[in-house]
Point group: C2
Chain length 392, copies 2
Amino acid sequence: MFSKSVTAALSSGSMIRAMFEQGAQLKAKYGADNVYDFALGNPDPEPDPEVIDDIRRLAAEPGIHKYMANAGFSDVRARVADYMKAQSGRAFTADDIVMVVGAAAGLSVTFHSLLDPGDEVIVLAPYFMEYNSYVGNQGGTVKPVKTLPDTFRPDIPAIRAAIGPRTKAIILNSPNNPSGAVYPEEDLLALRDALADAEAEFGTPVYVVSDEPYVKIVYDGVEVPSVARIFQNSIVVNSFSKSLALPGERIGYVAVNPDLPDKELLEAALIYSNRTLGFVNAPALFQKAIVDHLDRSVGLDAYRERRDMLYAIVTAAGFECLKPQGAFYLFPKCPIPDDKRFAEVALKHRTIVVAGSGFCYPGYFRLAYCVSKETILNSAEAFNKIYREFGT
Amino acid sequence: MFSKSVTAALSSGSMIRAMFEQGAQLKAKYGADNVYDFALGNPDPEPDPEVIDDIRRLAAEPGIHKYMANAGFSDVRARVADYMKAQSGRAFTADDIVMVVGAAAGLSVTFHSLLDPGDEVIVLAPYFMEYNSYVGNQGGTVKPVKTLPDTFRPDIPAIRAAIGPRTKAIILNSPNNPSGAVYPEEDLLALRDALADAEAEFGTPVYVVSDEPYVKIVYDGVEVPSVARIFQNSIVVNSFSKSLALPGERIGYVAVNPDLPDKELLEAALIYSNRTLGFVNAPALFQKAIVDHLDRSVGLDAYRERRDMLYAIVTAAGFECLKPQGAFYLFPKCPIPDDKRFAEVALKHRTIVVAGSGFCYPGYFRLAYCVSKETILNSAEAFNKIYREFGT
């Protein structure tokens, strides 16, 4: 009676949803303080006072809440272009920027502009599986390629083997959700070579779509190499959900590399897609509110402190785990291959994790540590007990 | 190299865009005050001070900018449900409401939830042709049925004839963009009978999707019949773009009729679609900001005054025109059948109109009167000259 594909999706793939519901039941039974919920990546800092002040000041500005061009306010686009230019060394201008309703919208708009039915998009597992929808809704299919175990770095030979004549794009997400890995420059240079070889072989470019919401959430002085600098055929998608702690407000941008061939046509396609997919334009007030805060990143010290705490707890309990250099997740290895069973066992100890299968990387589990320090400290005993259930 | 369907759409169908560009050139040449631009339906009132105050107050509330459930804040959904209940007499609850990123998003989410590839959606011409995208992006096709000439009321026998086994829905938009017509209750009751007969014949319901952004922009004491009251199988899509003059902020809702069979499944589908199409959730601050202003409508007296002024000018010049009871558009008849040529002639007189072909209703043209009174008054001479060009 309703859409068959949507109703089919509702009845399958509800593993994470089921986990949430079991978590809610646990909290109702034992009290929220006695449940260790590491499931959701909802940034917990408040936005900085300077950002709040700007929202309040701008709200009363005449004309600010009206329609603007579908690409966004031109002054905002110019400022984002300056920022991208400083980051990448490439000559971004306002024309290369489209303001969007958050990164999820930016990815949907980008793939709607790039893909024909049957096109393939390479994704590097573990990955945020909503990409399947952002690509699939436009008639494309994702082709997952596993990153290397333990480091979660790109497996360049495997990527080379996966590229075919219908490969239109590859998604990069570094710092990575869920692994926290930051792809080093040498990997990106090797990937650039691989894409150049593929273009020579198949006669069409493979676009790099870089999903960068965590690009400012990094630790230990690590540098995130600029994807826009390294890849000429790149489209950067970013949001202010994490850096400014505004995830509910849905504000982000798409930046087309100024050196991408035929970029004007792609930019027109992005603006058209932004309109016709029903986004119309990015929320007006928040376009203006972010513009003086492009360099800001909120809560970094608190995230690092909690990363260190949870990493210490989890590894002391016996789990193998990469110490992540970015984002706010740990992605430890399960002591048994069956990560779904592992997540159920964790639940018995009132600990909510997301199985790696939810990121196309079984045998691991994700912990989002944007939770209170108390939750982290109190979870130590639970992680010890969980690990001991597997008798090692 | 990029999406074939998007790049094809970019090269065709740019009639309205071309009109905008010619208008911009005219303004550059003659000054904005000497060009009469009736092309764009961008509400010109500022939001009421009470709404601005709420935005400013809420911006500093702890936690307000975070992710919430994809359906929206539950307290906001409950308040919208109360409003819908008061309007329709049906027992709406929070579960029946999904907050969305404006009505365009609401329609995209609704059709993604309803349609399978090959399904048809009936639209009543003249209509807002973005519907073609909101339906087409989900694999459906629109089937336009012309309303009656002069009154723009639904042609019930023509609708009956257009319904077939693949008809999944019909879009209603009353008050109508572009005609300003308000469909009277007797027409909706006749439509209800037609849809009941179709359901009996084909064995599946035809859902009424009611796009209601102008529902509060009405004049002369006219009552807009509640679609949710009349049609059990209805989904109401609304936004605050017009009623609160917040079009740039992208805030609206979808309301599923509480008496619609299997409504829980449709509601789950809407929430899933809201997430996976990349909207994720409606902007958080604006969900909270609209909640005390569900009954408000801004600028009504000014709209009515300008409707009366422009209607007097246009009819005095000689044009035939329905005096609209709602929205902020006039839709006069062209003195020649070729509405595109007519729009070009108007342009010579520095007057920018949109040809009826842009609404699937050739032979007419749309004037958006949400412009200054001066623009309207100064345009009188131009409309006289335009009409006289056709020698009648």
